[in-house]
């Protein structure tokens, strides 16, 4: 059964990739739609591979920095609002406001405040912050009512309750937020690079589009997609492991 469950998606993928190759070779979708083999050839080409490698490192650094900052900040603010219920209403509205700002509109503002170099990381951190603020809050509030009552009758302080129970119980929810935030960080970083970063995959996308280097453009987009997918996959595994380990009280 497991084997069959794995075969169907694999066959589906191969068919899709085959269709891509054929469509590209025939040119049925125009000359901006290259065959898969042409795209893959970019990775075999020394100079272009080096360019992609350098750019990937730059983008991963910005996305990673933004991701880490957004995760830390989102979790901390959510815990703070959980400990000080008085502030929760205000912090919730602030987070929604931050999320309502389109990344594209925020770019130019960041360019003049944070500078070209740091804009990708800053733009990556914004959606990550919102997602983690929300996911952590949901996790902290969705804990077992009975365990909450046990802690109350034991005379536990807010802080003890958070440290010994809620923070751990919220971990799967936090990881679930991180899973979704991983792709948001990548989008933020790439878009941030369009505003004039010195290097990065976003810069390559823009340049290859303007210079009509179609296979390079596709190859870059494919790298971005693969990074996003593997981030999602790794964090899904972490989430599943945490749910298993932390058991049923982590809702």
């Amino acid at each position: 059964m497991r084997l069959r469950a794995a075969i169907y998606p694999a066959v589906g993928c191969l068919l899709l990739l085959g269709a891509w190759e054929v469509a590209g070779r025939r040119g049925v979708l125009g000359n901006t739609f290259p065959a898969l083999s042409q795209v893959l050839a970019v990775y075999a080409d020394g100079p272009r591979r080096a360019l992609l490698g350098r750019s990937l490192a730059a983008t991963l650094a910005s996305a990673g920095t933004g991701f880490a900052a957004g995760v830390c900040f989102g979790c901390l603010v959510a815990m703070f609002s959980h400990l000080v219920p008085l502030l929760r209403g205000g912090l919730d509205r602030m987070a929604v406001l931050v999320n309502a700002l389109p990344v594209i509109a925020l770019g130019p503002v960041l360019i003049i405040t944070a500078g070209r170099e740091d804009t990708p990381a800053a733009l990556a951190s914004v959606p990550v912050f919102f997602l983690l603020y929300t996911a952590t809050g949901v996790g902290l509030r969705g804990t077992s009512q009975r365990l909450e009552m046990v802690f109350t009758t034991l005379g536990a302080s807010r802080w003890q309750r958070l440290a010994k129970f809620e923070a751990l119980a919220a971990l799967p929810s936090v990881l679930s937020g991180m899973k979704i935030a991983a792709s948001s960080a990548m989008i933020g970083a790439v878009v941030g690079e369009w505003f004039g970063a010195p290097s990065g995959l976003g810069v390559v996308v823009l340049n290859s589009m303007q210079n009509f280097q179609i296979p390079l453009l596709w190859a870059t987009v494919l790298v971005i997609a693969l990074i996003t997918l593997s981030g999602y996959g790794l964090l899904s595994l972490a989430e599943r492991a945490a749910r298993r380990k932390l058991g049923e009280c982590a809702a």
Partner: protein, 256 residues
């Protein structure tokens, strides 16, 4: 002197009426009851009569709408702060990532008291779980988990032990065995205890006194003393007196 007193206690909730308006309805009371020091009292009544509300009021998890709840002359919240309350629920409510020993250590950590290995060992022996110190709750049977939850409730030698249907989720055979286990555990320290239960037999087997609550709003309809000596053996359950008392209380419960 009564260790525990409810004086003219009522608890009302808001609900939406058929016409869609919000209205107040009284779920409990007015209720007056007193429990003596070291007494084991069982509270029985139909579903929705407010049994669990009484327990929540005594635990300081809820506030009465009118009237007063006092434990040794103090409000329940003070007992929380003194770590003098022990509570166990129908569902075990253990921390799933902690071992049996880790869960038993929790009350000591929260209270800022030292949990000696000796004391934890005593509690594990009390729960009859020697050899399972390092097991996680998920690796234990339902009965074992409930014993851990009860041992945790007793860890700090509370003045008041509150049990909300602690064996409600267990099968009949395990439940019977757990009743005798609970009596054995209880006899070691004899804290003042309130047991909320659906089972008349369980109440008669365990309690010194049984209170039957009326249908909503819950009031004390009957207050019966259980005359059997402790420890109570399985043979008691086959005696005529036991069955007479169970039948009498069951009839009382069913009369509305």
């Amino acid at each position: 002197m009564a260790a525990l007193a409810l004086v003219g206690v009522t608890r009302s909730f808001l609900r939406r009426s058929a016409a869609g308006r919000r209205e107040s309805f009284t779920a409990l009371g007015p209720l007056d009851l007193q429990i003596g020091d070291g007494e084991f009292v069982a509270l029985i009544g139909a579903s929705g009569c407010g049994k669990s509300t009484v327990l929540r009021l005594l635990a300081g998890l809820d506030e009465p709408t009118t009237g007063q709840v006092q434990i040794n002359g103090q409000p329940p919240r003070n007992l929380q702060a003194q770590q003098a309350l022990g509570i166990a629920f129908q569902e075990h409510a253990l921390l799933p990532w902690r071992s049996v020993a880790g869960n038993l250590r929790l009350p000591f950590e929260v209270a800022g008291r030292a949990a000696t290995d000796e004391r934890i060992g005593e509690l594990i022996a009390l729960a009859g779980l020697k050899g399972f110190e390092h097991a996680r709750p998920a690796e234990l049977s339902g009965g074992m988990r409930q014993r851990v939850a009860i041992a945790r409730a007793l860890a700090l030698q509370p003045k008041l032990l509150l049990l909300d249907e602690p064996f409600g989720a267990l099968d009949a055979v395990t439940r019977r065995r757990m009743n005798f286990e609970l009596e054995r555990i209880w006899l070691e320290s004899r804290p003042t205890t309130l047991l909320v239960t659906h089972s008349v037999e369980e109440a008669v087997l365990l309690a010194d006194r049984i209170l039957v609550l009326t249908q909503r709003p819950g009031r004390v309809r009957t207050d019966v003393r259980v005359p059997f000596a402790r420890p109570r053996a399985a043979a008691l359950m086959r005696s005529a007196e036991f069955h007479r008392l169970v039948d009498e209380l069951t009839a009382n419960l069913e009369s509305g």
